[in-house]
C-alpha cells in the first residue's frame, strides 16, 4: 500500500495552512486558560512535517502517517506533541496492521483511545478528545464530509461550557468554563481543513 504522494503532500499543506492562519487565535485561546503557546506549538509541528514533505510522500501510507506522528512528537513537545503525535502514530500502526483501509472509523477509534490513555483523560475533560470522539462518531455513522466538519466545529465550541479536568486549564476549576479549549479548537480546524481538502480533491 503506497501513499498517494499528492494526497499526503496536499493534506500536510492544508493542515499547515490552516494552523498558520490561526496561530494567533490558538495562542489567544491558550492565554485565557493555559500558557498561551498552543498556536506556536502547532505551527512548529506543522512546519517540521512540511519540511519532510517529499521524504514522507514516498513512503507507504501507514509509514508516512506514523512518521508524521513521530515528527509531531519530537518537534511540538508540550502537551500537544504527545497527543497529536500519538494520534497519528497509532493511526499509522493501525493502518499497517489491517488489510482493509476502508474501515477508517475503527482505526481512528483505536488511535483516539491511545491518545486518551497517553493523556490519562476522558471525553468531557475539555480537551481535544472532545472533538476527536465526536468526529470519530460521525465517521462511524458515515456522515458526509461537510457534516463531519460541522460536527467538529460544534464539538469544539461545546467545550466552552465544560469545566477543564486535564492540562493546565484544570487549575482554573470553574473559571475554565466559558472558554473554548485551545486543543479542541486546533483539532476542529484541522478536521475541517482535512474534510475540505478531501471534498475538493478526492470526493469521498
Amino acid at each position: 500500500m503506497q501513499a498517494e504522494p499528492v494526497l499526503v503532500l496536499g493534506l500536510i499543506e492544508a493542515c499547515r495552512a490552516v494552523i498558520t492562519a490561526n496561530t494567533d487565535h490558538l495562542c489567544a485561546l491558550d492565554c485565557a486558560i493555559g500558557d498561551g503557546d498552543h498556536g506556536s506549538n502547532m505551527q512548529r509541528g506543522c512546519e517540521a512535517v512540511s519540511a519532510q514533505g517529499t521524504a514522507l510522500s514516498n513512503l507507504p501510507l501507514p509509514d508516512a502517517v506514523e512518521k508524521i506522528g513521530m515528527t509531531l512528537v519530537m518537534n511540538i513537545g508540550g502537551a500537544a506533541g504527545p497527543l497529536y503525535g500519538t494520534l497519528l502514530m497509532e493511526i499509522g500502526r493501525e493502518l499497517r496492521a489491517r488489510d482493509r483501509t476502508d474501515d477508517f472509523a475503527i482505526v481512528l477509534k483505536k488511535a483516539i483511545d491511545a491518545v486518551a490513555r497517553r493523556g490519562r483523560s476522558h471525553q468531557g475533560d475539555k480537551t481535544l478528545l472532545d472533538v476527536l470522539y465526536p468526529v470519530q462518531d460521525a465517521l462511524a455513522r458515515s456522515s458526509t464530509l461537510i457534516d463531519v466538519a460541522r460536527h467538529a466545529e460544534r464539538s469544539a465550541s461545546l467545550t466552552a461550557a465544560m469545566r477543564a479536568r486535564r492540562g493546565r486549564a484544570s487549575y482554573l476549576g470553574d473559571r475554565s468554563i466559558g472558554h473554548v479549549d485551545p486543543g479542541a479548537s486546533s483539532c476542529a480546524l484541522l478536521t475541517t481543513a482535512i474534510c475540505h481538502y478531501f471534498g475538493e480533491n478526492h470526493r469521498a
Binding site: D35, S40, G77, G81, P82, R118
Partner: protein, 334 residues
C-alpha cells in the same frame, strides 16, 4: 503593544540561548551529540551512581539547566518556551547519565511533561535502562491538600532537585534516591504572587491581563491563573498571605528547621525579595521554626513576569544533610 526583547527571532530563542549557555559554562556543561537540547553535566554522571535527569520548558532560567552539575542534576532536557521537551532529548539525557544504577526523572507535574517523559521512559525500558519518576508538586495554590498529586511543580523544584541530586551523589540506591526525592517533594511548599505578565518570545504579547493596581495570588509560573485576584497589598501583607497558606499546610512543630526561598518570577528586584524575606523570618520566628538555609533571588522565573514566590522545605535530619551537601553547577554553587 509588543514587549521589547533582546532576541533575534522568536523561533530561535531556545537554541541560541543554549549555544550561549555552552560557551559561558564550558567547564560545567555540554550538549549530547546531535541533540543540542540535552544538556549534560561534565562532572556529574559516573558509574554506579543513579543518574538524575530533570527538565521542562524554557523560560524559567536558571531552572532547569542552571541546576545541572556535580551534586545536583546530571542532565536537563530542554523544551521550547513553556513547553515540555519531547522524548528525544530526554532519552539522550538518560543515556548520557546512566551509570548502571538506574535513572531518576524529576520534573514539574504538568500534563505535557508527564506525557513526554513517560514516552521517553517507555522507550528507555526497551533499552533496559531502569527509569523511575518523581513529579514535583510543591505549588500549594494549585490544588487542595487532599489532591496533592494534582499540584504543579514550581520554585520548590530547586530544593527538591537539590535533595535528590545529593542523594545520587552520595551513591544512594535507586530505591533510596526515589524515596528521598518523594520525601523532599512531600515536605516542600511554595506559593507565589504575580503583579504583571510576561510575553512569549513568539508572540511578544502579555500572556494575561491584570489591572494597574491588582495582584494575583497563586498564579502559576506560566501565567496560569491563581486562587485570588485582588488589589495590590504591601509586601508584609502579601508575605503573610503566602506564609499563611504555607504554614497551614506544614504541620511543623516549634524547633523544626526549614530551608526557605524567596524567588523572583523575573523582574521583581532583589530589594523587594529581601523585604519579603524579612517578613518570612518573623513569621517563622512566630511559629518557632528555625531557618537552616535560605535562597533569595532568581531561581525559577517566568521570563520577565513581575512577582515572587516563597518556598519552605520542612527539613528532617536526612533532608538537612542532603540540602547541605555541596554542589557545583553552572548557575548554582553551594
Amino acid at each position: 503593544m509588543k514587549t521589547k526583547k533582546l532576541i533575534n527571532s522568536g523561533a530561535n530563542v531556545v537554541d541560541e540561548m543554549l549555544q550561549g549557555v555552552l560557551v559561558a559554562h564550558p567547564h560545567h556543561l555540554y550538549a549530547a551529540e546531535d541533540m543540542p537540547r540535552a544538556i549534560i553535566a561534565k562532572n556529574g554522571p559516573r558509574k554506579g551512581k543513579v543518574g538524575l535527569v530533570i527538565g521542562g520548558g524554557s523560560g524559567h532560567e536558571p531552572t532547569f539547566l542552571g541546576f545541572v552539575g556535580k551534586g545536583l542534576a546530571d542532565a536537563a532536557a530542554i523544551g521550547n518556551v513553556f513547553a515540555s521537551p519531547p522524548p528525544d532529548p530526554i532519552i539522550a539525557c538518560a543515556k548520557a547519565v546512566d551509570g548502571g544504577a538506574g535513572v531518576l526523572f524529576m520534573y514539574g507535574n504538568y500534563a505535557g511533561d508527564v506525557m513526554n517523559f513517560d514516552m521517553a521512559a517507555e522507550m528507555l525500558a526497551l533499552d533496559d535502562i531502569e527509569v523511575r519518576t518523581v513529579l514535583t508538586t510543591d505549588d500549594v495554590a494549585s490544588a487542595p491538600s487532599d489532591q496533592m498529586h494534582k499540584r504543579r511543580g514550581v520554585a520548590g523544584n530547586v530544593f527538591i532537585f537539590k535533595a535528590a541530586g545529593a542523594a545520587c551523589d552520595l551513591l544512594y540506591s535507586l530505591d533510596d534516591v526515589e524515596r528521598a526525592a518523594r520525601r523532599a517533594n512531600s515536605r516542600t511548599y511554595t506559593m507565589g504572587v504575580a503583579l504583571s505578565p510576561c510575553s512569549l518570545p513568539q508572540t511578544l504579547r502579555p500572556n494575561f491581563m491584570i489591572g494597574e493596581d491588582e495582584m494575583e495570588i497563586g498564579m502559576g509560573i506560566h501565567g496560569e491563573p491563581g486562587v485570588a485576584r485582588g488589589p495590590l497589598k504591601t509586601a508584609d501583607e502579601v508575605t503573610d498571605e503566602l506564609m499563611d497558606s504555607i504554614l497551614g499546610e506544614m504541620n511543623a512543630s516549634p524547633g523544626d528547621r526549614v530551608a526557605v526561598m524567596v524567588n523572583s518570577l523575573g523582574s521583581t528586584p532583589m530589594m523587594e525579595l529581601y523585604i519579603m524575606m524579612r517578613r518570612v523570618k518573623s513569621r517563622l520566628d512566630d511559629a518557632g521554626l528555625v531557618i537552616h538555609t535560605s535562597l533569595v533571588g532568581n531561581y525559577c522565573t517566568s521570563l520577565e513576569m513581575a512577582g515572587a514566590s516563597i518556598t519552605v522545605m520542612h527539613l528532617d535530619g536526612e533532608l538537612q544533610r542532603l540540602i547541605d551537601h555541596p554542589c557545583d553547577c553552572a548557575m548554582f554553587t553551594r
